[in-house]
Symmetry: C2
Subunit: 456 residues, 2 copies
């Protein structure tokens, strides 16, 4: 019910924008833009065509609202709308934004354009941005907020509270990070602890000294795992000397978790890893999806080659051809189930080093149970449908489907486990390998079993 | 690098527990349990065998640490370890927990056991728990925290700050929720706004009046979407009269997002939706995966039936059989790519009502590009490999693969879009439908094209 309501609001917003855009009602458009939450505006913006996007964006002023709107967009879209803007407009848009918002926006632009914008910013801002942008993409360093509110450990709670009240900059104060004389992070305290402690107590006496922290090089997925596991609102980023560089906040972690899941999904289906695949052209789309399909094509060609080798067998019993789809299909499907369970289990930390063997055994048992079941069913069907054929045909197809399914669970389980050992992302390579090898092995097994059991 | 470190810590913890368990070193085990973060303990706990799990849990005392540990476990595991405990122990364990932790733990137990535990709790707690447990599973009501700190709108900021400092209960104060004389939620203020405003200002003059709220029936996925979209730390849950019932906090939303992604993954592969599939027995596993495989079995049987119908054609040109795997395989794979992009695009809100047609057209273009490419490649291979055959064989297989891939993109795109229109979860039903229909349609198309172009 509530979902409808939420979608309903977005739909109304979309209609209102559409009407004003058609009427070129500039003044009303400006009013509506300013009244709309930046996150909502980012959603509605996707539905505009290129012309409308240009029109709406040209009406947006250089203020916080516009920056918030921009950072809610995906990088592909940022690049698209800022591509035609000159460096002056872009730099005036982002000059008052936080460093991590600035670097996110600049990171979405073409390198050349980004550089001319950076050249227009203030010296100190330039340095900060370049520092952030030097961290690897998708690392804690590239997503951290650098304007963190810190306090010295020998400050009293009373003084800390006063300092806090004077702070205008650090908008989202989640935790109070406490440092020693060398600016090293030594502890953390909650806002509540500060407010409920006698005002002459020193911070170092109330702070929690065990702080989970990450390094700027830490991958965003690992940051997300720490935040998710310990229910943190933010996690500090420190350098090699223990100095606080910034914090990664939970709202960014929420985005990371959503995006990583989407990437894993797309990669497992061989559809690239670009979340914004829908914004890309058909050509780019095709290019990304080509490699997996090529693996599958090679598998199919090899299967054709194998079947060609057994041409004589097929000639004596043409009915054998009828069961090729089901034998590779059932194998491919159960293999995909196994590999999905394993890939996802590894991503969520449910499968770790140490329990792989147990997992493999269980998958094999599942493969055996389902293989025997569907093998018997298919054996009966084969003998019933192809009455004229050799009565052994049922045994052959039954056995083949059972062994193809058993083999598929093994391949589906083994492949991602081995890829991880080799430090290859299992989500990328598992899909093509599993289906392709079942295409080949399934057909081969089938004709070998037929050769053994049928007198042709 | 940091990932290794994090995993390293868990590995050490696992080893230490293992050693102490083997030595039955009770005193040291108790010490280690109390020293370990509940979230870490929950991770390590998965690796223990049944015996070890029992031993560790029997050493845990009735305190906050144990409750935090329990709520970090998945429901299957909670049920398993509490199943043999008597109602007295369970009720003493959870009696001081928050209502939503209590109801999460009780909701994981068998109904009978949960009821006997509830009977042992205090009257008022019983009522609160029963209220929470009455909300549908996976709704905002079932996951909200009910001990929310609220303030009356005519309170001054100074008084509010004092009241806040006396609060012991509401541990996680994210926002200050402000109500009117009827207890209706009328606004929200940040802790910072309170601290930085002159103390005689009334709350109603500083509060933000536009508050995004949800109903207790709201699905957790929609709650997650709101929190993610607006970067909230918590979202209030209100009843029909606008009264504040509780809040859903971002840490729970993080869990929801991870779990929903995992469920979608498993469902798309027809492996059920149970995140704890690894904890289930092989039989249960097989049972869950049976239905999709049955759909695929039916598809395979129908394909066998179709091929049987074209037996004469196969007899005259046995080479036709060799290309069956590649034609259905390429179709199945590109269809899976399309449906994955669509299912995930709908889950993340990238595909909405209104742009389906555009998406379908783009997929068809991608299907055409790749179909033509791989069709030509296969056509050349077929004529090269089966030199003895009809030269038209290359044209037949080339055309077949192209049309099978084009058709597959259409089916892969259409199916999830239509399922959503029918209010069926696209993640559940898309997978089996797409691969099964390509098995059938691909084979049918192939033989129809062969019948038209070959003179057999």
């Amino acid at each position: 019910m509530r979902k409808e309501l939420f979608k309903h609001e977005i739909a109304i917003l979309k209609d209102t924008f559409g009407r004003l855009l058609r009427r070129h009602a500039q003044t009303n458009l400006v009013k509506l833009i300013n009244k709309t939450h930046p996150a909502d505006l980012a959603i509605v913006f996707r539905y505009f065509n290129d012309e409308e996007q240009k029109q709406v964006f040209s009406l947006m002023q250089a203020n916080d609202h516009t920056v918030e709107f921009l950072v809610e967009l995906d990088d592909t879209l940022i690049e698209k709308i800022l591509d035609t803007e000159n460096a002056e407009r872009v730099s005036s848009l982002i000059q008052n934004a936080s460093t991590n918002d600035q670097s996110y926006i600049l990171g979405s632009l073409k390198e050349e354009q980004a550089q001319s914008v950076i050249d227009l910013l203030k010296k100190e801002e330039q340095e900060e941005i370049e520092e952030i942008m030097a961290y690897p993409q998708d690392s804690a360093g590239s997503m951290m907020a650098t304007d963190v509110f810190t306090l010295y450990q020998n400050t009293t709670c009373g003084d800390a509270l006063k300092t806090l009240q004077d702070q205008q900059e650090a908008e989202m104060v989640f935790y109070l990070y406490i440092t020693d004389e060398d600016d090293s992070l030594v502890g953390v305290a909650s806002l509540r602890a500060l407010a409920t402690t006698p005002s002459n107590t020193l911070l170092k006496d109330i702070m929690e000294k065990r702080v989970h922290s990450v390094r700027p090089e830490t991958d965003q997925e690992d940051v997300a795992q720490i935040v998710a596991q310990y229910n943190y609102l933010a996690v500090p980023v420190i350098d090699g000397d223990g100095r606080l560089l910034g914090i990664v906040t939970v709202d960014d972690v929420v985005d990371v978790i959503r995006e990583e899941a989407t990437e894993d999904f797309l990669q497992m289906a061989g559809a690239g890893k670009d979340r914004e695949i829908l914004l890309k052209s058909s050509w780019e789309n095709a290019k990304v999806r080509l490699p997996w399909l090529f693996a599958s094509w090679i598998g199919g060609v090899m299967a054709a080659y194998i079947i060609g080798k057994y041409e004589n067998m097929l000639e004596s019993m043409i009915a054998l051809a009828a069961f090729i789809p089901i034998i590779i299909g059932m194998g491919g499907n159960i293999g995909t189930q196994s590999s999905t369970i394993i890939v996802r289990g590894m991503a969520t930390g449910r499968i770790e080093i140490g329990n792989e063997f147990k997992v493999l055994l269980k998958e094999l048992r599942v493969g055996l149970i389902l293989g025997v079941l569907y093998g018997i069913m298919l054996g009966i069907f084969a003998n019933f449908k192809f009455l004229g054929s050799d009565p052994m045909l049922g045994v052959v197809v039954g056995l083949s489907i059972c062994s193809s399914m058993l083999l598929a669970t093994a391949v589906g389980t083994f492949t991602p486990l081995i890829l991880r050992k080799l430090d290859i992302d299992p989500a990328v390579a598992t899909g093509p390998f599993v289906t392709t090898s079942i295409d080949i092995l399934g057909v081969l097994l089938y004709f070998m079993i037929a050769g053994l059991l049928l007198t042709l």
